[in-house]
Symmetry: C2
Subunit: 339 residues, 2 copies
């Protein structure tokens, strides 16, 4: 089911993405769409990389946060504070957008989040409240803060303004590919709660109805892949883990999943071992730093070379906030076997 | 001496760079000019990065090689073969341009060159002739091959077509900065033989006469910095070494140095230790892989933060062909102390 006829009534529409792009212009970085022509023959497909690693705060998350806070400012001029929960990239995106737009930000983060993400969030001026991932509820802590302080909640994905903001990455991708004289046959974006791939699909399927949009997930947390196969939201087994700290949402969102169901061609998944190989491929062949979650789309492209043979495949590299230890782990590991 | 009045008679002119850009359009990658707005306040200057790391073969060298071979094709339609000597980036640039334009390429490389660089050069279709660095002359071997086979020599820097090709990076830099509504006050490009910084200066000083263009070198191989101070070509002490394997030419070029003398504001230098810190800064803050030589311009910008306070500083990140061990060495090392 990837027809546009199904898009009416979805929580994110093409017009919302266009409006978001106008709203965040000059605030978000217009990240480059990269082509490595020397790799095309060896890969058997034409690879394009939308480098959200180069976005403010090192991931696409600033786009949605900025769009959301701009709308809050328009609709609720008295709002002064925001609160969000996140293991890292949404935290930094919200903190940066809040600082830029004059909000006080409080971010609820697990105490085992990558150090680089906690430190960066603090450096962006946010107050960080740490919680224990396995014994405390981040939702409860966040809503307590919202109730006590009047802060506006900024959800990580299940929000139309967030989805539309993330979709601006897809809108740019289409324009940038066309400026290179190309169109993508396939677009792959990582999915956790699924806000990015929903927004990207809303943009791409409107502009290129024939393109196939896929979600990429770690094989151990492939809730969206299985949900798409079953036609309904199913969750990951409790305790499912992956090196993709950014892609560990337990189940697709209530608002995002109908978008996925209507617009995606399916879900793809990669093992942690293959994601580490993709990170090494990015470092040594693409000269880009990707965090594990950010490399999942690249891993899925490289794993499906037969399926994508001869096509133009655009992957959204959604984030680059990897600790040095994780980069070293990738560099010490195996290479993807490319001819 | 950085006045355009001195540019007449130099081996590379703005018009040559413009012509090169037309010649290599669609063959070389138009590499992005990256801005990281979140870093500007901490750095005290606005940093722009011209990411030649993302060029075909991972360095700017493809630009000059492609321009040179296109001119050979125009002027000498019977030419079928080219020869070059290089242990690294020029080898790959020439091999890639030769393969694209239908020349047989022979590259003379030292037998102790990094295996990956030899393999990459072969993978690009070139014949690699190995020589013993300490007992054989690469110039002699190359000219023997040229004499025997009629192959055209492709020099690494002391050639007007090579300089003009490398200068296309500077031409793009100016246009891309202006598209962002910016102009650089300072442009820094790495220098070995000095072809890149000569070509970049020819472009930048024509378009932005008030901009200051600097060469970046490793402190142990700062022949251009010292030559500019003395007003004549002086060499490095024999046996001078640096981790910047791409920046170890013994003395500025005969054709490049007059360009440097006329157009550059001076030379900057960074220690190997500071270059490693800049590589780590690139990996963790810019999300880019730079090889040591490619990070020298960034290192010089970071080292001169007081000098550049409040300015817009564009650095050319000239290459990204670092092996995993060198990246791990940077990741294990210290951070640049940025507030």
């Amino acid at each position: 089911m990837d027809s546009l006829e199904n898009s009416a009534g979805l929580a994110v529409q093409f017009a919302d993405v266009e409006a978001a792009a106008k709203r965040i212009a000059g605030k978000a970085v217009k990240t480059p769409l990269l082509h490595y022509p020397q790799l095309d023959d060896a890969l058997g497909f034409r690879l394009l990389v939308k480098a959200e690693t180069l976005q403010r705060t090192g991931s696409f998350k600033f786009r949605g946060a900025c769009n959301k806070l701009m709308i809050v400012k328009e609709q609720n001029p008295g709002a002064r504070a925001v609160v969000a929960f996140s293991s890292g990239n949404h935290a930094q995106g919200v903190a940066a957008a809040a600082a830029m737009l004059g909000f006080k930000a409080t971010i609820v983060m697990p105490d085992d989040a990558p150090r680089i993400k906690i430190e960066n969030t603090k450096a962006l001026g946010a107050e960080v409240v740490l919680y224990k991932r396995h014994t405390e509820s981040r939702e409860q802590i966040s809503s307590d803060i919202a109730a006590k302080t009047g802060a506006v909640m900024v959800p990580p994905y299940d929000d139309p303004a967030i989805m539309a903001g993330q979709g601006t990455s897809g809108l740019e991708l289409c324009a940038q590919a066309e400026a290179l004289g190309m169109k993508a046959d396939v677009v792959i974006a990582p999915a956790s709660g699924g806000g990015l791939v929903a927004g990207v699909a809303a943009a791409v399927k409107h502009l290129w109805p024939a393109a196939q949009v896929y979600a990429a997930e770690p094989a151990t947390c492939n809730d969206l892949q299985r949900s798409l196969m079953e036609g309904k939201r199913v969750g990951n087994a409790p305790g499912s883990v992956s090196i993709c700290d950014a892609l560990m949402s337990p189940i697709p969102g209530e608002l995002t999943f109908p978008v996925h169901k209507a617009l995606l061609s399916g879900g793809l998944a990669a093992s942690d071992a293959d994601i580490l190989k993709a990170m090494k491929f990015a470092l040594t062949r693409l000269k880009l730093v990707m965090e594990p979650g950010g490399a999942s789309s690249l891993a899925c492209a490289l794993l499906n070379r037969d399926k994508f043979r001869g096509k133009t495949v655009a992957v959204v590299a959604s984030g680059g906030n990897a600790d040095p230890e994780m980069l070293k782990r990738a560099l010490d590991g195996e290479d993807f076997a490319i001819p």
